[in-house]
C-alpha cells in the first residue's frame, strides 16, 4: 500500500513537471517524456501487474492533457512495459547503460508511432520538424532517465 501511494505521488509529480517543463530547458521545443520512463524503470523492481497499472495511469494522465481523444499513450505505455518486462530477466538492475539504451529505443518507437498517427490524421509536419521531434525528444528522454532510475530504486528499497 505504501509503495502504491509512493508511485501514485511520483506519477503526479512527474506529470506536473512534464506539463510545466521550463522553456529554457526545452531544446528545440522538445522535452523529455518523464511519464514514459517511470513504468519502464519500475519493471526492474516490481511485479508486472503493478507495473501495468502504473503504465496505464501514466499513459492516461499524459493523454488527459493532449488534444487527441484516444488513449493512445495508455496503450503504448502498457505494451512497452510488457516488452521491457520480457527483457528484464536478462538485464542487471545495476547496468544503467543497457537500461538507457532500452529507454532510447522505446522513446524512438513511441515518438515514431505518435508522429505517424499525427501524419495519418492529415496533419502537415515538415520532414525536418518530424525528425527533430523524433530524435531530440527521444535522446532527451534517455538522457533524463538515470534520474528516474535512481528514484524508483529508492522507492523499491
Amino acid at each position: 500500500m505504501k509503495k502504491w501511494l509512493s508511485i501514485f505521488f511520483v506519477i503526479i509529480i512527474l506529470a506536473t513537471l512534464q506539463l510545466s517543463w521550463p522553456a529554457p530547458l526545452s531544446f528545440f521545443n522538445a522535452k523529455p517524456d518523464l511519464l514514459l520512463i517511470l513504468p519502464l524503470s519500475l519493471v526492474f523492481y516490481f511485479n508486472f501487474k503493478f507495473v501495468l497499472a502504473a503504465a496505464i495511469l501514466s499513459g492516461l494522465l499524459k493523454d488527459a492533457f493532449l488534444p487527441a481523444g484516444m488513449a493512445i499513450n495508455a496503450l503504448l505505455f502498457s505494451v512497452w512495459s510488457y516488452l521491457t518486462f520480457r527483457l528484464s530477466s536478462q538485464i542487471s538492475t545495476e547496468n544503467n547503460y543497457v537500461r538507457l539504451c532500452i529507454i532510447l529505443i522505446i522513446a524512438l518507437l513511441n515518438n515514431t508511432i505518435l508522429g505517424m498517427q499525427s501524419l495519418s490524421a492529415g496533419s502537415y509536419i515538415p520532414a525536418g520538424i518530424f525528425l527533430r521531434n523524433l530524435f531530440i525528444s527521444s535522446l532527451y528522454t534517455a538522457a533524463v532517465s538515470p534520474l528516474i532510475f535512481k528514484l524508483t530504486k529508492r522507492i523499491a528499497a
Partner: protein, 257 residues
C-alpha cells in the same frame, strides 16, 4: 524470447481490455485529472514567473522603461483614433449600417503546456464556470492564439494555431486573397491553397477571414516571411510568422461571442 505462449496471450488480452475500459472512461478521467493537477500547476506557474522576474531583473527594468515610452506614444495615438472611431460610428449610424456588437473577453492564465512534442496546446485556468465553451477563439494582445477544444469546470484546453491539426481560414489584408493557415509544430505557420496568380508578398499581414466559422473576422494571424511553390507546382504557399509569440505565452483572452 518473444514466443507467443498462452500466458503471454492472456497478458496481452488483459492489457488490451484494461486500456479499452480505461479509454472508455477517459473523458471522466480527463476532467478529474485536470482538476487534480490544477493547484500544483498554478503554483508552479506562479513560482516560475517569480523566479524569471528575479533572474532577469535588469532586463525587465530596461524593458519597463522602453514600454513606458511606448505607452505614452500609444496613448496619444489612441486618443486620435478614439476621435476617428466616434466619427466612424456617427457616419455609420447616419448611413444605417448595422453596428457590430463588441466581443466579451475573459482573461485567463496558461497553467500547463502540451506534455509531448507532437501537438501544440496549453491548459488555461478558466473553464465552464467562467463561460468558456468548446470552439471559442483565443487571442492575446499580439494576435490570434488558438481555439478552445475542451472545457472542464475550472480549466480549458486550447489548441494553438501552430498545431498541425489546426486550420484557420484567412485572408491577406492588402489583397483579400484567401488561403488556409495551418500549423506545422515549428515557429512559423503555413498558408496553403494559394493560386499561382495570388496577390501575396513578403511582409503582407494575414488576418482571419469571415469564412471561418470559429474565429471572428479580422483577427491578426501573422506576417508573411516567405513564399514558395507547392511540390505539385499547381499552387503556392506562404510561410507566416505568427503575431502571437506562442512558445512563451502566459496570458490569453478567450472571446465569448
Amino acid at each position: 524470447m518473444f514466443k507467443l505462449s498462452r500466458k503471454t496471450l492472456i497478458n496481452f488480452i488483459f492489457i488490451a481490455c484494461a486500456v479499452f475500459l480505461v479509454s472508455l472512461f477517459s473523458p471522466f478521467f480527463k476532467n478529474s485529472a485536470q482538476k487534480t493537477l490544477k493547484p500544483q500547476l498554478t503554483f508552479i506557474g506562479a513560482l516560475k514567473r517569480e523566479c524569471v522576474g528575479i533572474i532577469f531583473y535588469h532586463r525587465n527594468m530596461v524593458e519597463l522603461a522602453r514600454l513606458g515610452n511606448e505607452t505614452d506614444n500609444l496613448r496619444r495615438k489612441l486618443f486620435d483614433l478614439r476621435e476617428v472611431a466616434q466619427e466612424n460610428a456617427r457616419l455609420k449610424s447616419l448611413l444605417g449600417f448595422k453596428q457590430k456588437s463588441p466581443y466579451r473577453l475573459v482573461a485567463a492564465r496558461v497553467i500547463a503546456r502540451s506534455p509531448d512534442s507532437w501537438s501544440s496546446s496549453v491548459i488555461i485556468d478558466k473553464g465552464r464556470y467562467s463561460g468558456i465553451k468548446r470552439g471559442m477563439a483565443v487571442i492575446n494582445t499580439q494576435g490570434l492564439v488558438g481555439r478552445v477544444i475542451e472545457s472542464a469546470d475550472n480549466s480549458s484546453k486550447v489548441l494553438l494555431i501552430n498545431d498541425p491539426g489546426q486550420g484557420v481560414s484567412s485572408i491577406v489584408q492588402r489583397s483579400r486573397q484567401e488561403g488556409l493557415v495551418s500549423g506545422s509544430l515549428g515557429a512559423n505557420l503555413i498558408m496553403r491553397y494559394l493560386p499561382d496568380e495570388a496577390q501575396i508578398a513578403v511582409g503582407d499581414i494575414i488576418i482571419t477571414s469571415e469564412l471561418s466559422q470559429v474565429y471572428p473576422k479580422g483577427l491578426l494571424v501573422g506576417k508573411v516571411v516567405n513564399i514558395g511553390k507547392e511540390f505539385s507546382g499547381l499552387s503556392r504557399y506562404a510561410v507566416v510568422k505568427p503575431a502571437a509569440q506562442l512558445s512563451g505565452i502566459e496570458e490569453v483572452l478567450v472571446i465569448i461571442p
